[in-house]
Amino acid sequence: MSALLQVRGLSKAYPGVVANKDVDLTVQQGEIHALLGENGAGKSTLVKAIYGLVKPDAGTMALLGKPYAPPEPRAARRAGVAMVFQHFSLFDALSVAENVGLGMETPPRLRVLAAEIAQVSRAYGLPLDPAARVGDLSAGARQRVEIVRCLLQEPKLLIMDEPTSVLTPQEVEILFATLQKLAREGTSILYISHKLEEIRALCRRATILRRGRVVGTCDPRSVSTAQLAELMVGTSLKRPDREGRNRGPVVLALKDLSVPAPGRFGTALSGIRLTVEGGEIVGIGGVAGNGQDELLAALSGELPVGPRMIELEGEEIGTLGPVARRRLGLLAAPEERLGHAAAPDMSLTENAALTGWMREPILRRGFLDWKAARSFAQKVIESFDVRTPGPGTAARALSGGNLQKFVIGREVLQRPRVLVVNQPTWGVDAAAAAAIRQALIDLARGGAGVVVITQDLDEILELADRFAALNAGRLTPPVPTEGLTMERIGLMLGGAHDMDVARPDEAHQIMESYDAPA
């Protein structure tokens, strides 16, 4: 093996932040190389520099021994570097083939392209129908569209940014089989993740970043997960303390909650049944796009539901809007921080008032008391360690993790009876995530019911007392998390999928077919 990509002394600073400092990275030909690090460690900046999206301040790169400095992604693609982003750039209303064609420099005719897609997807075990409409596809299938789009360019280096965050465990297995086949054929893969287990399963070499610097290179299989985690975070993290909670009576009951799909590509909820006791944390898992947003909106009151479908402490609240529900104690924190949970251009004081006026002494006879709102914002900032110059700062100026702490803190400090959160630690660094999880546990300890909707299965095992899977708008009956295995969770998540059931035996078949002579 010889080096495909060599990065030497790469540095990049943004105003106020050093994203990369003297980063060295070598990717060999045909290897799956892990890039490990917490959120904000500089992984994204580094791969964006490799992909030509970011121009480094200093440092050199070489591809196959030749100097390499792509001014833009097009040049990177011409040089043989392809990237699958964490967030897909696909058009819902177009077909798979049309979407793939849009991402190409000189797309062939649609029929030719469809045949090529079918061929590549067969060759790499990526089940995909070129004529399917992207809006109808699951997240896993959408990711396959992105991967196939890259593979059609026959890349030398494939960069994958947190590819498994939207996949079920079984879909992850299929993806890994594909990546291993690619690597065997000589394609190098730069694999970004903060999930240690999967890196240990997939990669033989890992470069670990912390605060923009390389803190180590290792074979992830030769060191323990704990050692890896310590390298990534810098200190050892303690798991949240779940003890000391008492169960109370049922605080929230969903009775055959059904809602038609809001909009063309929304998901309908059908027949959801769930009870949440005081002091209990219920985890709702599922792959993105299976009704998580709709469930949150139905609970927060943004989406109208039938009168008897939701009971809060025995009271039917289905017909009530967000204001009335919040006044009764049902609070929510949606997934999207900017634009949904918070208004980007408004100050933290105003964002504190956004939901705070309904339960905090901020509103008097229709008039807002900005002094009270400001002190409420200040309270959230202090109790949740939100790093910001002050409550006058605009929400969009905060980092993702800090804004998330603010949004969760704003709801927690309003003493909810029931709190519903969607993806509470998405894109949040480990320390902040631990703080948020602890806050949710403390809230339950105080007697409130907590519903955590999340795609992070580790989070469910760490937080929840019971687990239910949300699948195409249906909820499985909840099961206790104690003694629950990843495999069982995966089966629950994949359970009701119709067209792209990703079963483990299928994955094995695919893997076996790779080993067989062509």
Binding site: L53, G339, A342, A343, P344, D345, L354
Partner: protein, 361 residues
Amino acid sequence: MIALERRPAPSAVWRWATPPLAVLLTMVAGGAMFAALGQDPLVAIRTIFWDPLFAEQFASYARPQLLVKAGPLILIAIGLAMGFRAGVWNIGAEGQYIVGAICGAAAGLALYPADTRLILPLMALAGALGGWAWAMIPALLRTRFGTNEILVSLLLVYVAEQLVAAMALGPLRNPDGGGFPGSRNLARWDSSANPELIVGTGMHWGVVAAFIAVIAAHVMFTRHLAGFQIRLMGEAPRAARFGGVRAGRLVILCFGVSGALAGLAGLFEVTGPAGQLNIDFGAGYGFTAIIVAFLGRLHPIGILLAGLLMALTYIGGELAQLTLGLPAAAIQAFQGMLLFFLLGVDVFTNYRLRLGRRRIA
């Protein structure tokens, strides 16, 4: 290469620097236009901006006109700004202004020639209601059927123009007018007259209403929950819904208030400066108020200043037509430039200019 780079946060300096800068650029470009028309640009600019207020021979007439013209502009623009901040686009204030005048005038004329102080307040109420009702058409069509309120409200202006012509020729025509179109002169009927309150200032009840609206709007935007929700809906509609804002209600509120204020402006115009309802009652205040609202940054105090400035260009423009023989179209183009430059320069509030060959991804 010149590139625009998004600022991390909107620049407060640029936010307030853009209107004066836009005025300056308008003067430069307008001066060039006047020069192309064969006028001395400096004289033309002075005639428009300086002479109406400070030149001996014009000021006695022109100075009161400033408030007369600014009053309806400010009153209408305040209402529009409420909607614009919420992302509700009422482009039909001109129609609501006309219908308000029709309803107010009709209410008064129905009681002619009664002599009581209650008639003007009654007419004001009818005018506001008329403007409100006309605005409810696009508002309800949008909330019920999802129609585009920009189109509906704009097209209703032309309906209102036909309506006022029909009224001036038909039901509301002055029976003692010798067959000429137009209603009785409401300014000369004591019960309905909206007189100059302080001699030589141009101050009438409409101007008073405009000042009250400025203060009320300022208090609402800064302190009241409704103002907060309006800003929320305009800036982050999903966050607004999450925060309990009912979009439909807010659309109706914004249209209702802007319609009522436009109607009120129409009523005070027809009972005061205009005097009577005639075929050509609509003078474009409703459209110019859109420029005023944006020129004033959708901020009540800004609108107050912008309204005065816009009124000045009106009066100065007339003066320039009179003394320099500039065509009316040139003055309108001049006013249009103001909005053009404002929107153009506005980019710098959110973006900064970067020179050089740096590429931005």
